[in-house]
């Protein structure tokens, strides 16, 4: 089964990536998927649809806001935008994520402990 649930791997990872993408520029769902897949060099094979539950969670927490509009390619799209609260949340998440990553890196490879 290819039904890999991103939350199983890393709770909050998908949300963080969405927020990070939106911080660069507002986007609609499809564009977000494209962006994440391209940026990760297709290493992250996110099931496209799994974006939507994550987006709903962010909407509910008021970290992003959404608006219907028309895209540059003249499609009807729902564009998401990061809110100030989303910005703050992202900062916090990134710093805690980095600390965690550093910790994991230390455990896995103590020799390269100065990498950061």
């Amino acid at each position: 089964m290819t039904n890999s649930n991103p939350r199983d791997l890393f709770p909050g990872a998908l949300e963080m990536m969405i927020l990070e993408s939106l911080r660069r520029q507002p986007a609609h769902g499809y564009a977000l998927v494209q962006h994440i897949q391209q940026r990760s060099n297709n290493l992250l094979q996110v099931e496209e649809g799994s974006l939507y539950p994550a987006l709903q969670r962010l909407l509910k927490a008021r970290l992003v806001k959404a608006e219907w509009g028309v895209s540059s390619t003249n499609r009807r799209v729902r564009t998401y935008q990061i809110t100030p609260a989303g910005m703050r949340h992202l900062e916090k998440e990134i710093s805690s994520f980095e600390r965690m990553l550093a910790g994991i890196a230390l455990v896995l490879d103590p020799d390269k402990s100065t990498a950061n």
Partner: protein, 879 residues
């Protein structure tokens, strides 16, 4: 949190989401098509890349949901839709449950009214009722009220009660003279501290003063009940201070009892309360207060803080024993203290026995109803296999599907509960009306929170009971065959389950029907008992002119004129007087001494029940005089010695001899037997022949008038009323009724039990029939293929009918066999209620079994006929 606006915004949110996902897929498809795919390939690839859209959409929605509650709401909505899609199924289940739950609610309403509901007294937990108890006797016979001196002794010397009141257990009919006429009202005699011990506050005016009966100053006073104040005195505030003429004496109204106060004991309604000091004038028993051998008062004590009921009982027992110790012959009397309840402890046993019998009966009815529901749900869940498989395939978890199924059962059972409540709302007043109007007892059966809680709990339990098993079973299967709509033969495990449910239904139904049959036959027997007097064309009433202050000669003159005028009424053939009616509640015993006869072991005297009757009593009541003569007016002259005995007494004490002319000592007076009358029933219809003796009726104030009349008793009764009115408008005829109305009381218990069990039996039979025919019809529809094959291979219709009948009758047979076995054990409980029939009556057992078998046969035959009409071609082609 912001979920409140979400509740309203949610539909828009969901629409946005669905639209967004659709657009996403569209964009991906277009992109893939630009890459050279065909539209179809592109759409499939887009969907694969997207993932399970339904699951994702649901997970997205969950974000917004107030999850558990909301999904329950969804379940409820879905269940409602499902149920309204199959109205036949839903109605059958709901009606089954309505009958079952309605019967339970009805009986429980009475259990609540009699046993659970507390009296409307604040702080009842600190009150005790006190009676004396014979340590050697058992049951209700052991309990005895207190005498007035006995009460005073306990009141003044106890160390455990802060205050001790007393009240007369019986309501006294009293004639209230107003506006030139008399009206019968009921009063209760209470000690002055009665209301203060109960902790009641008057609605108006005040209650009795503690020292009132000691100095006896001023006009005697009464407290009136709230309904009496409202109805008879117009609810006027000036009612306090008003004078009431009760039994000829004047009493001042000093207060009105609170509205909620309906008495300490259930069933007694009082229009007023009078202090015990009024006993001699109000009920004209001047010796009652001083007598230590008249036991007529209930004690009512308030416990001192920190004192338990048992401590109070121990304290009072010491006092009671020391009071009796001077009399060595007296039985050992303990005091008994018990909680203040609407049905006091000594009588509870009987009420519990009676109501638990009925609860058991309705419990069985509910069991059958639940079995019906379970069977129908089971049949439907098999039919809904495909729907459930689709839902599983779409990602519904097993838990979710089971929960959905249970939601449906609970919806059904709750609707059944609501129906049952409505049924009870209608049937409870109907049952209350079964009580003969002439019994001066009123019972309230309110629908309070206990009744609602009971209905809710029982509905919930039934819903779970008939919902869980089929729900669990319905999810345990392979999806594929169901999705392919393969018509599998019903699995043997499931049809065995359904079969055993039907067997259980028939078993329970037979037990109920046999019990009902026994009670109905017992009622028929009771009705055909010869009470020893005529049970039609007699009017009876009770009069008490003495209550208006008549002297003895005035009494005599009144009754002489009354008899004269009543005898002259059209249609009246005879009329007489007595101080007693057979099967009444009062009982007078005399001690007699008969030459050559020893008293029964353990007693120093022969005790014989007696009554005093006027001439023509026997001919009026239709009691045959077998030997000798009736009384004549001269029999009451001084020095006259005539008595009349019944046949039972004659054969008991003068066997083989002519009793006429025999002498014996009655109440220390030498008497001569002048007549022998037929033995009748005196205390209860089921008693064995009892010795009975009649004395001539001298002048008494309180007497029964018995009148033999034509078929139109009502007309005669109103004529008698008119005659009494012309003689003295203040004399109130009490409880005027025809003899058949009078007989309703002794037959009441048998009548009610027989009727209720017959109704419950009929309901059970109906439900079991529905269950059986449902199961057989269902198996016919499941076996349509098989039947088609059999017929194609040459089986004739008769063979098919036999095939189906065999299945149904096998289940019936097992059910009846089990039911008979269970009935042997179960009907023993009824023994005490049955008259003239044994609990294991072969005729009833056989007849009811045959009857149930016949009904079962018919309910199988209809679907069997249907099976035989199956067109083999059609059923095979459907494969």
């Amino acid at each position: 949190m912001s979920w409140i606006p979400n509740l309203f915004r949610r539909r828009a949110l969901y629409n946005d989401l669905a639209e967004e996902m659709r657009l996403h897929l569209e964009e991906r498809t277009e992109q893939l098509m630009r890459g050279g795919m065909s539209r179809m390939e592109a759409e499939q690839a887009a969907r694969r890349a997207f993932g399970n859209r339904t699951v994702l959409e649901e997970r997205s929605r969950e974000v917004w949901q107030w999850s558990t509650l909301e999904s329950i709401g969804a379940d409820v909505r879905y269940a409602l839709r499902q149920l309204s899609n199959s109205p036949g199924f839903s109605m059958t289940v709901i009606l089954s449950l309505t009958l079952g739950l309605g019967a339970n609610t009805t009986i429980f309403t009475f259990v609540n009214a009699l046993l659970l509901r507390p009296p409307a007294i604040a702080d009842a937990g600190h009150l005790v009722e006190v009676m004396e108890r014979n340590a050697k006797a058992s049951g209700i016979e052991a309990f005895m009220p207190l005498s007035y001196p006995g009460y005073v002794d306990l009141r003044d010397h106890n160390r455990t009660l802060s205050d001790f009141a007393a009240f007369d257990g019986d309501p006294h009919p009293v004639s209230w003279s107003h506006g030139g006429e008399g009206e019968m009202v009921h009063g209760q005699l209470v000690s002055n501290n009665f209301f203060s011990v109960l902790g009641l506050e008057p609605a108006l005016g005040r209650f009795f003063q503690p020292d009132q009966d000691k100095n006896g100053r001023g006009a005697p006073s009464v407290v009136i009940s709230y309904p009496f104040w409202q109805r008879q005195l117009g609810g006027d505030r000036s009612a306090v201070g008003r004078a009431l003429v009760l039994n000829g004496a004047t009493y001042t109204v000093i207060g009105v009892a609170p509205r909620s106060f309906t008495g300490v004991i259930i069933g007694t309604t009082h229009d007023f309360w009078a202090p015990l000091a009024a006993t001699p004038t109000l009920i004209r028993e001047p010796h009652l207060m001083g007598s230590d051998t008249s036991f007529w008062l209930f004690g009512l004590g308030r416990l001192k803080p920190g004192v338990s009921q048992n401590e109070a009982q121990a304290d009072l027992t010491v006092l009671a024993r020391s009071a009796h110790s001077s009399d060595p012959k007296a039985a050992v009397m303990d005091a008994s203290a018990f909680p203040v309840q609407l049905v006091p402890a000594p009588f509870r046993g009987y009420v519990v026995a009676f109501t638990s019998l009925l609860m058991a009966a309705v419990g069985l009815v509910l069991l059958i109803a639940c079995a019906n529901a379970a069977n129908l749900v089971l049949a439907r869940s098999t039919a809904r296999r495909r729907e459930l498989a689709v839902r599983s395939a779409l990602g519904a978890s097993r838990f979710r599907i089971v929960r959905q199924a249970i939601t449906e059962s609970l919806m059904l059972s709750m609707m059944g509960g609501a129906g049952g409540l409505m049924l009870a709302y209608w049937s409870v007043p109907l049952l209350l009306n079964l009580k003969p109007a002439t019994i001066p007892v009123s019972i309230e059966a309110p629908f309070d929170w206990r009744v609602f809680a009971f209905v809710f709990a029982v509905s919930l339990l039934s819903g779970i009971a008939f919902g869980v098993v089929p729900a669990l079973g319905s999810t345990r299967r392979d999806l594929l065959p169901a999705l392919k709509d393969q018509r599998l033969l019903a699995s043997p495990r499931r049809s065995r389950l359904r079969g055993s449910i039907v067997v259980a239904q028939i078993t329970v139904c037979l037990v109920l029907l046999i019990s009902a049959g026994l009670c109905v036959r017992s009622l028929v027997n009771a009705r055909s008992i010869d009470p020893g007097f005529s049970t039609h064309n007699i009017a009876v009433t009770q009069l008490d002119p003495g209550s208006l202050g008549y002297t003895e000669s005035q009494d005599r003159q009144f009754y002489q004129q009354l008899l004269q005028r009543v005898r002259a009424l059209p249609g009246v053939s005879s009329a007489s007087l007595s101080d007693y009616l057979p099967l009444g509640t009062s009982r007078s015993m005399s001690e007699v001494k008969i030459d050559g006869v020893n008293p029964p072991p353990g007693q120093d005297m022969i005790r014989v029940q007696f009554a005093a009757v006027a001439p023509n009593f026997f001919s009026t009541m239709g009691i045959p005089v077998l030997n000798g003569r009736d009384f004549v007016p001269q029999d009451v002259d001084p020095g006259a010695t005539a008595v009349i005995i019944n046949q039972a007494m004659a054969t008991h004490y003068w066997p083989g001899r002519n009793p006429i002319g025999q002498h014996f000592e009655d109440d220390k007076k030498n008497v001569e037997i002048v007549g022998v009358v037929k033995t009748g029933k005196y205390r209860s219809l089921s008693e064995d022949p009892l010795d009975f003796m009649y004395r001539p009726l001298g002048s008494q104030s309180q007497e029964f008038l018995v009148v033999r009349c034509g078929a139109n008793e009502e007309t005669t009764m109103s004529e008698i009323r008119r005659v009494i009115q012309t003689l003295d408008p203040n004399v109130v005829p009490m409880e005027m009724e025809s003899i058949s109305q009078y007989m309703a009381l002794p037959l009441f218990a048998a009548h009610t039990t027989g009727l209720l069990l017959a109704v419950f039996g009929a309901v059970a039979l109906l439900l079991a029939t529905i269950g059986l025919s449902g199961v057989v019809s269902y198996s016919v529809s499941q076996r349509a293929n098989e039947i088609g094959v059999r017929m194609a291979l040459g089986a004739d219709r008769l063979h098919v009918v036999r095939l189906i009948l065999k299945q149904g009758m096998l289940l019936t047979g097992i059910g009846i066999a089990l039911g008979l076995a269970l009935s042997f054990a179960a009907t023993r409980v009824l023994a005490g209620l049955l008259y003239g029939i044994k609990p294991v009556d072969p005729l009833t057992f056989a007849a009811v079994s045959l009857f149930l078998g016949a009904v079962a046969f018919i309910s199988c035959y209809v679907p069997a006929r249907h099976a035989a009409s199956i067109d083999p071609m059609k059923s095979l082609r459907a494969e």
